[in-house]
Subunit: 411 residues, 2 copies
Amino acid sequence: MARLVMKFGGTSVATIERIRNVAQHVRREVEAGHQVAVVVSAMSGKTNELVAWCREAASLYDPREYDVVVASGEQVTSGLLAIVLQGMGIKARSWQGWQIPLTTDDAHGAARIAGLDGTGLEEGFARGEVAVVAGFQGIHAETKRVTTLGRGGSDTSAVALAAGIQADRCDIYTDVDGVYTTDPRIVPKARRLDRVAFEEMLEMASLGAKVLQVRSVELAMVHNVRTFVRSSFDDPANPQAGTLICNEEDIVEQQIVTGIAYSKDEAQITLRRVADRPGVAASIFVPLAEANINVDMIIQVVSDDSTTTDLTFTVPTADYERAVTILEGARGAIGFGQLQGATDLVKVSAIGIGMRSHAGVAAKAFKALAEKGINIRAITTSEIKFSVLIDAAYTELAVRTLHSLYGLDKA
Amino acid sequence: MARLVMKFGGTSVATIERIRNVAQHVRREVEAGHQVAVVVSAMSGKTNELVAWCREAASLYDPREYDVVVASGEQVTSGLLAIVLQGMGIKARSWQGWQIPLTTDDAHGAARIAGLDGTGLEEGFARGEVAVVAGFQGIHAETKRVTTLGRGGSDTSAVALAAGIQADRCDIYTDVDGVYTTDPRIVPKARRLDRVAFEEMLEMASLGAKVLQVRSVELAMVHNVRTFVRSSFDDPANPQAGTLICNEEDIVEQQIVTGIAYSKDEAQITLRRVADRPGVAASIFVPLAEANINVDMIIQVVSDDSTTTDLTFTVPTADYERAVTILEGARGAIGFGQLQGATDLVKVSAIGIGMRSHAGVAAKAFKALAEKGINIRAITTSEIKFSVLIDAAYTELAVRTLHSLYGLDKA
């Protein structure tokens, strides 16, 4: 007997028919003798409807009330799945965040999990009950007000729940059948990975892979929750393989590069001939941070006259115009010659724990991209990944080139 | 300064625009210096959608899970109204049943209120906050599970809340502007009543007037909550009169008859020549009760051969066929000669506390109806009302006749 957490997202519970399919997956695990907690999202589209109402109600809405409104979506699904399971003869009950309780801080709308009391759920398991948990929501312990974890929070709920009840595995059922070496829509030769290390998954999620929320991967890594990404559209009686996200040590044959990720809608800003004095970086990046503009790749090089420096960095395309306006406004305070910008760029990244112990992994890529005539605008590297910034028109070519280069193509 | 409970039903909160209108009503009372708790229903149509999902999920659904699902409707409205009020600069917060807490028994789907702890709400009033309470829902104290009070439960929530926080008045905002002497759609001369006694309102609600739920009137009577029925479609800046439901003693000029109610879709069953022996009534009515058929008017007369009896009673038209099948099946056990039935009947009732002290009130009606050629099929009376069963074709004529007879017509 194992203890499992099974998580189903909005598209998997979009209709009662699909909820019945979810229940079949649950039935399979119950019949295999496992203790099961199921975490559900709101029915697809419901959260958007609720958010739209909040926005219509007031342009600046109280996030505490927003949480009350949007948490209702998961509440509905949890009750409906419990009803469907019971109708199939499986003992089940729904649990809201406040009933467990799953406590969070009071950062309403994007709360962080503080703790989880598994007592009630354990009592349910002892009675042979499936626990159907409303994802995405919690309660602030002091104020007793409803909180939500932010978009994609149900993944995080599921992992936190798995950690809290010492589950043997956390199965994330989604609309894809696992984590791929890269996006199969642009690289038909992409392969599903059987296993991927927490650190790699974290980089992939941060760098554009949309399978899992970054926060849920962080949490899984910290609490060492074996997380299995699999398809909810499998035949419940004959489930297929997925991808296990686990400790590095549990991966027998480690590749040097595990996956290629890409992130669209990047914009680049270069400030030429910035005065090379202490504090100049702060004078540029503090105003951008205060405007909530997320600066990503930063490259500084000494400029040709060697008394000034050239500074290049990227921001999301959506924030490009605002960033330029802010920088032009601060031109006096910063002191720079020229502002050059480019939008419609893409960041392509290669991720792999094996990079730690292999030199020259990135260099090989630069050469391969150059041979294809792809101009690299910026490069950043870290211990287990490197990223290159290129023109968006070369996205597919670059991703395919790197995918082949590191031996990731399907046989 | 007074303390008010204001209750708004589903049509009054059907859209964000209408919720804004509700907020204007609240603003008026807040600006008048009152402490205000608002009770809201689900947006019109939402409860039906949620109930339909439960039914689709399983034909026999767990009422505890049903409650989780349907209570979400009021949760959404409470958050949205709080947001709108805050947007207008009025301090407000939402309260779910479990947060107050408003405790109930565990009769899920139709729970009865057990108690209400007003502490949290009082603290909110002290901070100058409007309390926006999700109607219809509560919590069972032992199991900590969500309960609902059954259809129309928001009226009951509002009255219970008013009792629990010792409100000076409970305003029920609805789509009509008060309680009328009869249905204005069939009697254009119907008048709005300024005041009506609890007992009268209870009879009116039981006998077909749809303004308020019977249970909310019972609760208002028991706890002596002055309940004011008024229109939510009034101009919030210029509210019109409504109807105050109050103690008999607070009504200065008591009419003999206060109102005429009618209830459609009645069916009549007559059993001829029933053996006149002890236990025969039980042999008829127990099987009907077991089939959940609600028997209303019952009249028993000795039949012409004086050794048997004729028994007449009414059931809802929707249950007529089932009732006849059950009775024919039990013909041997009961022992009766002939079963006669009629559908398409209506029960017309006159209600008035003044009847207690005035004789001949009903007799006057029988004469007036006879003069119009209306045949009375059955009569029942109680201390403050009498009802006659007639063919549905005569509904308007009978109601108008009685309305004029007792001096209720508008000048």
